[in-house]
């Protein structure tokens, strides 16, 4: 690791010690992310790096390039890591044909030891180890039972579905390619194959009322997904929604209504037996997304493909968002400068997303300094305002803190 100050050397040592404790047979655990930047059509709110309506030839050459990158990454990191979570995100990765997906997964399996913490002993591999989480993001309308069955045989054991809503008016406004019937069918298909699946939902959408939202949520829960993500719609610059709202052509539900939807969600989920574990995520016990948890607990992850981000050895890097540049093979990951301050704020910024928060002891172990010392006086002020709380050595957001994550983070990040 390149150091930017003495603080970082010291810091890295602490962090490496921490990770070594969790390493098995000398191999550290690695989350593996692959970005598939293709979709059928761009939704009205979407600012992800994704290219609609690309031909199979483009997707094929993308997969070629990706496999090359996976091989190269294996040479660079394969000695130190075993892959224990795997996530194909997008875009719409379910646009990949089983053959394309097969090539990608094979490349990963060849480049890295894949499996749970005992992988080093049993030499597992994709599709052979239950402890290995392999998620594919998908959209209703892009797969059927046969395709899903093939995906499963290739090693996919978790499906994340962009359902967003079960109200056809809302779906249309969002610019989704599917209607509620297709969404229900998609969930039932996954369920019929006994596949662990997550449903992505969106609240605070133009034209959506609390009643519409509740109806969507309850009908989704009736399909018994293991995991639910519920996002408050964000207007991102450059999207049709942003422009329409700014020009007065689009009205969002009042902020109080948006929060009411969120609060009601938490109640309904709790009643249904789900555990709310991250700001926008809940799961049946034991079905939390292991891969996503890595993002929120400072674990190492490697992202390949265009616009993918990595966090390795305390440093972050990202790859170009330019498709042409990526396909031409000119994409060189760009490493960000890291210093002690930014690692500490990364920690707070990510771990506070967890409903249980983080342990002050972990902070102490990882950085060799005290959280309260580092974040006073902002932390004291937030405690007083009732936006944060502390219990049994754990620091977390309060219920009202969850409604104001941005102001809370802003206070902590600018100490």
């Amino acid at each position: 690791m390149t150091t930017t100050s003495n603080g970082v050397i010291e810091l890295t040592k602490h962090r490496e010690d921490y990770l070594a404790e969790h390493a098995v047979s000398g191999l550290k655990a690695l989350g593996f992310y692959l970005h598939i930047p293709f979709c059928v059509r761009k939704c009205n709110y979407c600012d992800f790096v994704s290219f609609p309506g690309q031909g199979q030839d483009i997707i094929d050459s993308y997969v070629d390039r990706l496999c090359g990158d996976i091989g190269a990454a294996g040479k660079q990191y394969g000695k130190d890591y075993h892959v224990d979570t795997f996530f194909l995100g997008g875009g719409t990765p379910s646009l990949l044909t089983p053959a394309q997906l097969g090539r990608v997964l094979k490349a990963v399996n060849e480049a890295f030891l894949c499996g749970c913490e005992f992988a080093a002993q049993c030499g597992a591999g994709l599709g052979k180890c239950d402890g290995l989480e392999v998620t594919l993001e998908s959209n209703p309308g892009t797969f059927d039972k046969d395709k899903l069955r093939e995906y499963i045989s290739l090693g996919i054991n978790r499906l994340s579905m962009g359902v967003q809503s079960l109200d056809d008016g809302v779906l249309k406004r969002l610019g989704r390619i599917h209607d509620s019937e297709m969404a229900l069918k998609a969930m039932r298909t996954a369920k019929a194959l006994d596949l662990n699946y997550n449903v992505d939902l969106m609240l605070g959408i133009p034209g959506q009322t609390l009643a519409i939202w509740e109806d969507t949520l309850k009908r989704v829960l009736a399909e018994e997904p293991k995991h639910v993500s519920f996002y408050s719609l964000q207007l991102e610059m450059g999207t049709p929604f942003y422009r329409d709202f700014k020009d007065g052509r689009l009205t969002l539900p009042e902020w109080s209504e948006n929060r009411a939807m969120y609060h009601r969600t938490l109640e309904i989920l709790r009643e249904a037996g789900y555990k709310h574990y991250e700001i926008s995520n809940a799961a049946l016990p034991g079905y939390e997304c292991k891969h996503n948890l890595k993002y929120w607990t400072m674990q190492d992850y490697l992202g390949l493909g265009m616009a993918a981000h990595s966090f390795l050895g305390g440093r972050r890097c990202f790859t170009t968002s330019d498709l042409k540049e990526y396909l031409a093979g000119h994409a060189v990951p760009e490493w960000e400068e890291t210093d002690e301050y930014s690692l500490k704020t990364d920690f707070v910024f990510t771990e506070l997303r967890l409903i249980d928060g983080f342990s002050k002891q972990t902070y102490q172990t990882m950085f060799g300094s005290d959280f309260e010392d580092d974040f006073a006086p902002a932390y004291q002020k937030l405690l007083k305002e009732g936006l944060m709380e502390e219990q049994n050595g754990f620091v977390r957001l309060t219920a009202s803190g969850l409604d104001q994550t941005n102001p809370v983070m802003e206070a902590l990040l600018n100490v």
Binding site: L235, M237, K246, Y295, Y301, D403, T405, E410, N414
Partner: protein, 603 residues
């Protein structure tokens, strides 16, 4: 010695932008074997990337070619390429003064243009022999006979035997070479007389110092000579003299009639100003060559580092550019909104754009440029005069008697179909037509008396747009004139942002105010609170827009790729806001500064 001069031809090429000047220059080099085909980049003489990209020549490049003519003699051609834009008129006039002849290229599809005409008149002022050439005859729309007729009608030159060529296709290049031998007079001048050499260009070289391009009129010049600049009085020791053939090649001496380069360990281009006369320190000429003048900037703007850029970096780069550009000036200034920066002076808008682009591309600087402004003359109650280059420095209206603004004489040439819309445009820009003439049946020249501040505000873009690119413009400074001018201030969230202040004519204030507010509304992103955008004259608000509030209290999604980006959005003054500038509580993207200047086609 007379033999030496007999076989020299010093000439330049006059053409409108895009009419093929650089292409013809390349063909001449190629056809005389001066540059091997494989070494040819597209347009050899335009050696700045920027020039090649824009298809215009900014800096002069001189080349020496050897041509074996049909008469059996070997001729030395000194081709002095000239810039093709109104901003660089003075440089053009000095390079013309170094020649005996000029090749006039007229595009067979377009005819004579305003800029060409302006340069032809400059050439005639210098008594040059004009050699007309009709280019682009390979194009289907070529009308060579009409082009010839235009040359005869408009300029009064006999164009009957003008070579018909295609520089692009290499057709009849020999015809041009022969016409130069025949028509351009050989140089005269006394090689034994005291040295008189004209500086017509100079540039800074990291190893050699300033390299001067010169035309020797009398006497001779060699390495070891002690030279004196007759206008600035500075004295230097010559370290090298040579010719561009087309790469720099040292020679023993340059004598009367020759064109070449001189190095003398000079540190700044401003110490070897274009138009100055070089003589020998110990045997000086009695008087210098005519025509020297120190060029003055006409247009000013502020250049500021972005929050991520260092002031010192910007200063270093401005200094580096100045070493190479005697016409570019700058001095430190401070803006409440933008902090420490520089007020920079340019010959014109193109000159400004070039400098800004070079700062961004060659030097990789992150800068903000403010609205360009002309220099206003503020006459105080006691009769004293203050020159204002920055609108925010305009004194309080109670403190001065009146303001005067620079006026220019503008010539616009265009196809007659567009006369109506351009007259409307000029009228809208407070222009007074002095006269109008038909150059040919289809082409018209409009002569206007116009405020410079209207010309620098997107006039050229509007002209090009309304004439589909066929209109051309030339202007020169005429005088200062009293005018009803007011200062327009822009307020964001009730706070004035000095960098947006501008001086406008009273009659235009409302229109501009509305336009700027609308543009800013488009580019300023939504904040957690409503952002009022106001335009005011003094205390009086004359236009207002509001950027809606968008409440963003929660961050719903945060996965691997979001962490750095979203965290930085919450961290004040960090990257992520790179292209943003904070004014009070309002974030303004950099593009806002240029957006308020852009010509709006829909208006």
């Amino acid at each position: 010695m007379k033999d030496h001069q007999q076989y020299i031809r010093n000439f330049c090429i006059i053409a409108h932008i895009d009419h093929g000047k650089s292409t013809l220059a390349d063909r001449l080099l190629e056809n005389t074997g001066s540059v091997a085909k494989r070494d040819m980049k597209e347009q050899f003489l335009d050696n700045m990337d920027l020039e090649r990209e824009r298809g215009i020549t900014i800096k002069l490049q001189t080349s020496r070619l050897v041509y074996n003519a049909k008469d059996g003699n070997e001729y030395i051609f000194n081709l002095i390429d000239t810039p093709g834009h109104v901003d660089f008129n003075y440089e053009v006039s000095r390079s013309l003064a170094a020649c005996e002849g000029a090749v006039l290229i007229v595009d067979a599809t377009q005819g004579v243009e305003a800029q060409t005409l302006a340069n032809v008149y400059l050439a005639l002022d210098e008594d040059l022999e004009i050699v007309p050439v009709i280019n682009k005859i390979d194009l289907a729309s070529a009308r060579p006979e009409e082009a010839k007729q235009e040359i005869e009608d408009v300029i009064g030159l006999d164009a009957s035997d003008a070579p018909l060529i295609s520089a692009k296709e290499g057709i009849n290049i020999e015809g041009v070479l022969e016409a130069i031998v025949e028509k351009v007079p050989a140089p005269s001048g006394d090689p034994e007389a005291p040295l008189k050499a004209l500086i017509f260009d100079s540039y800074y070289d990291n190893y050699k110092g300033v390299v001067i391009y010169t035309r020797v009129f009398d006497g001779a010049l060699k390495a070891g000579d002690k030279i004196k600049m007759m206008n600035t009085g500075a004295v230097y020791d010559v370290t090298e003299v040579g010719v561009n053939a087309p790469y720099q090649t040292p020679v023993r001496e340059l004598s009367a009639g020759d064109v070449g380069y001189v190095c003398a360990s000079i540190k700044q281009v401003r110490d070897a100003r274009v138009g100055d006369t070089i003589t020998l320190a110990d045997r000086p000429a009695k008087e210098h060559l005519p025509g020297y003048k120190k060029v003055q900037p006409m247009v000013y703007c502020g250049i500021y580092p972005t929050p991520d850029e260092k002031y010192e970096n910007v200063k270093d780069c401005l200094e580096k550019l100045q070493v190479n550009d005697a016409a570019f000036v700058f001095e430190p200034e401070t803006s409440q909104a933008l902090g420490y920066g520089f007020r920079c002076g340019f010959l014109g808008l193109l000159h400004m754009e070039i400098i800004v682009e070079r700062l961004e591309r060659e030097f990789d600087l992150e800068i903000i440029t403010t609205s360009p402004s002309v220099i206003y003359k503020v006459v105080m109650h006691d009769g004293s005069e203050v020159m204002i280059e920055n609108p925010s420095n305009l004194p309080n209206p109670t403190e001065y008697d009146h303001i005067e603004e620079p006026m220019v004489k503008a010539t616009i040439m265009l196809p007659k179909d567009y006369v109506g819309s351009i007259m409307a445009l000029c009228q809208d820009r407070r222009g007074n037509m002095t006269h109008m003439e038909y150059i040919t049946e289809d082409r018209v020249a409009l002569h206007y008396d116009m405020p410079l501040n209207e010309v620098i505000y997107d006039f050229f873009d509007a002209l090009k747009s309304k004439t589909r690119g066929y209109g051309s413009l030339d202007y020169e400074f005429d005088r200062y004139e009293r005018s009803q001018l007011v200062k327009l201030d822009i307020l964001l969230n009730k706070e004035p942002v000095d960098a947006f202040s501008m001086i406008v004519h009273e009659s235009k204030a409302y229109g501009r105010a509305r336009f700027v507010c609308e543009k800013l509304k488009e580019v300023i992103p939504m904040h957690q609170f409503e952002v009022p955008i106001q335009a005011a004259i003094g205390q009086k608000v004359i236009a207002r827009e509001t950027v809606k509030a968008y409440r963003k209290d929660v961050l719903a999604k945060c996965y691997g790729g979001d962490i750095s980006r979203k965290k930085k959005l919450l961290e004040k003054q960090k990257e992520g806001k790179k292209r943003m500038r904070q004014f009070g509580t309002v974030e303004v993207p950099q593009e806002a500064f240029t957006a308020v200047l852009k010509y709006d086609d829909n208006k």
